[in-house]
């Protein structure tokens, strides 16, 4: 089989994770970034740096967009125009209107579009979905998702408080999982606390709580936090209930390997990389394999619900979302 040609756009931290995963999936990668960092990243991983977006897209099978959210639309539309498949870091776009435009363009052109919602590839969430989808908790009743993390760098992008600010990206994770297991959302209410507008300093503290009402009757609560300290650097937990039981998870539970007392130093084992699993599944889909676990419609739903949460937090009102098939 011919090697998959990937045009990676951007050279920041997410681009680095994706690059490593693409190489692991056997792809050839050319990198373009308008901040001058492409050459150094390419050199480190034995990839190729190119001088323009056009050059990057020329002959590529797939573009992987790892640039700031505001630039996704332009790059995605350029790729779709050339028939190049799209992988896009989440959120797909800063507004629902832009996300719709990208998804419509990809569907009209028959170009595959996969959002990089990496948490769907973490074993705990993949298993949750598998069990809920196979009916193991019966009919879903209520779910609680909790994501908290410490942001180790200042926030450099620009995002107004009204748009959700620094809570947007993280809120999207829980929203995406709730949508994945319980489906379409018809109403969203949210409260956001903290100085959420970006740019923001390192260690900025914020909390968002969103309540999603699903069209199947289930309710999800998503709690999203940026914490004051990196102890722990990330914490994720959920409790999902249905008529036939519950499923719970906490990232604090020990997994295969841990240092129980004493100093671990540099030692640790975190299991397989979610990015590796994600890019492997996308690469297979782009080379004739089965469709991956998520697609363009999931990207659009996640942006719509997250934007509705920001709008609700700003207005104090619950926001109704249009439901497929309703008048």
């Amino acid at each position: 089989m011919r090697q998959l040609e990937v045009a990676l756009i951007g050279a920041g931290l997410i681009a680095r994770f994706h690059l490593e995963a693409w190489i692991g999936a056997g792809a050839a990668v050319r990198i373009y970034s308008d901040d001058g960092r492409a050459a150094e990243l390419a050199r480190e991983f034995g990839a190729r740096a190119v001088g323009s977006l056009t050059e990057a897209l020329d002959g590529a099978d797939v573009v992987d967009i790892c640039t700031p959210t505001g630039t996704h639309r332009e790059i995605a539309l350029a790729a779709i125009g050339k028939g190049v498949g799209v992988v896009c870091e989440k959120p797909l776009a800063a507004t629902s209107a832009e996300a719709e435009e990208i998804v419509d363009a990809s569907e009209r052109a028959g170009v595959r579009l996969y959002p990089a919602h990496d948490v769907r590839f973490a074993p705990a969430f993949a298993r949750l979905h598998e069990l809920v989808a196979s009916g193991r908790i019966g009919k879903g009743t209520v779910a609680h998702f909790r994501f908290s993390a410490y942001h180790p760098r200042p926030w450099t992008g620009h995002a107004s408080a009204r748009s959700g600010g620094i809570l947007t990206d993280q809120m999207l994770h829980g929203v995406d999982l709730a949508y994945w297991i319980f489906g379409e959302v018809s109403r969203v209410h949210a409260c956001y606390q903290g100085e959420i507008a970006a740019p923001a300093p390192e260690g900025a503290v914020a909390t968002g709580i969103a309540v999603l009402t699903h069209t199947n009757g289930a309710i999800s609560q998503v709690v999203s936090r940026w914490t004051a300290t990196p102890k722990p650097p990330v914490r994720v937990a959920f409790e999902v209930s249905g008529t036939e039981g519950t499923l719970t998870y906490d990232s604090e539970w020990p997994q295969e390997v841990r240092v129980a007392d004493g100093e671990a130093g540099g030692f640790g084992y975190a299991g397989g990389s979610v990015f590796a699993a994600e890019m492997r599944e996308f690469a297979q889909a782009f080379t004739g394999g089965p469709e991956p676990r998520l697609g363009a419609r999931d990207a659009l739903a996640a942006v719509r619900i997250t934007q509705a949460a920001a709008e609700s937090a700003w207005s104090g009102r619950a926001v109704e979302l249009p439901v497929k098939g309703a008048a």
Partner: protein, 320 residues
């Protein structure tokens, strides 16, 4: 590469069949020359569903000329199966325990040596990235000087095992320690057991086994039958600076199951069977493997045998 799965008696046999069938470079034979009629019928049925050949007698099995065999028959039939296949120059992956008596294990090891084929133990917790990380951590001195190991492995009662919970579950723990200590011999074994869970569960339903190794490292294990969906095998590796914990099947998800009225426990961790099979098939090319071999199986079985002697006498048993 031609690989035979010999009998579907073991609960893991279906896993081997599924994984081997999916490997493009593997030609699969399912065989059950000594099995009872019901087992043979099931094995023939599975072969038919997959469209792979089935062999019901030894002449057919040996004529097929396997490069490798996975022995998943009942414990009592394993020695005969391993020796016949080894003499036909097939590399062997055999479920634990290899046999009930260490003299049988010794004969299996010798036959494989004579035939120039590696005997690999199916001890899955010894494979995979997590255990490799633990080995590296211990070698790099994360715990300081390793002095003490404790571990546990509790499973639902195993079918087709002659003996109780110690014979069935201790080998997996002993294999992990054997790998960790690079095959260091045991010097003393002490074991206590009971059958409180009931005679139907076998001679012993719970046991505690303590083993002293030549360097002074002490390892103590609990083994038992359990109705809970427990994980493991699990080890705590204790040194003078820190302790490191390994669980081959930790809890990924918990919760409540309203259908059974019990706790839910979805195991996490990597599925070690694919890497164990890859490693095993690699031994055909290289003659060497990362996991425990027949000699390790012999060391493990001698410890198990000493444990039964200790249970009987109530005193520690010295090994030389």
């Amino acid at each position: 590469m031609k690989v035979t799965v010999l009998s579907l008696a073991s609960e893991h046999a279906d896993t081997y069949v599924r994984l081997l069938h999916a490997m493009p470079d593997v030609e699969l034979l399912i065989a059950d020359p000594d099995g009872p009629p019901d087992d043979q019928a099931r094995a023939r049925g599975v072969a038919g569903q997959l469209g792979v050949p089935y062999a019901g007698d030894w002449d057919e099995v040996l004529e097929w000329r396997s490069n490798a065999v996975v022995v998943t028959s009942e414990v009592g039939r394993r020695r005969d199966a391993v020796e016949r296949m080894a003499e036909a120059e097939a590399f062997v992956l055999c479920e634990q325990p290899l046999a009930v008596k260490s003299s049988d294990v010794k004969a299996m090891v010798d036959t494989c040596d004579m035939a120039g084929v590696r005997l690999t133990l199916a001890s899955p917790a010894c494979y995979g990235e997590a255990f490799a990380a633990v080995r590296r951590g211990i070698a790099d001195g994360v715990v300081g000087t390793l002095t003490t190991i404790h571990g546990s492995y509790h499973t639902p009662p195993a079918a087709g095992v002659n003996g109780g919970a110690l014979a069935a579950n201790a080998p997996y723990l002993l294999d992990l320690v054997d790998v960790m200590l690079d095959g260091e011999p045991a010097t003393r074994v002490y074991a206590q057991a009971n059958g409180v869970l009931g005679a139907a569960a076998g001679p012993e339903s719970a046991a505690v086994l303590t083993v002293s190794y030549r360097s002074g490292v002490v390892a103590s294990f609990t083994c038992g039958w359990s109705r809970s969906a427990a994980g493991g095998p699990a080890l705590s590796l204790i040194g003078d600076k820190a302790s490191l914990e390994y669980d081959a099947a930790p809890r990924l998800l918990g919760g409540f199951d309203a259908v059974t009225g019990g706790e839910r426990r979805e195991p996490g961790g990597e599925d070690p069977y694919p890497s164990m099979l890859r490693d095993f098939l690699g031994t055909i090319e290289t003659g060497a493997g990362n996991g425990p071999d027949g000699e390790a199986g012999l060391r493990t079985q001698r410890i198990v045998e000493a444990a039964y002697e200790s249970m009987h006498t109530g005193q520690p048993v010295d090994l030389n």
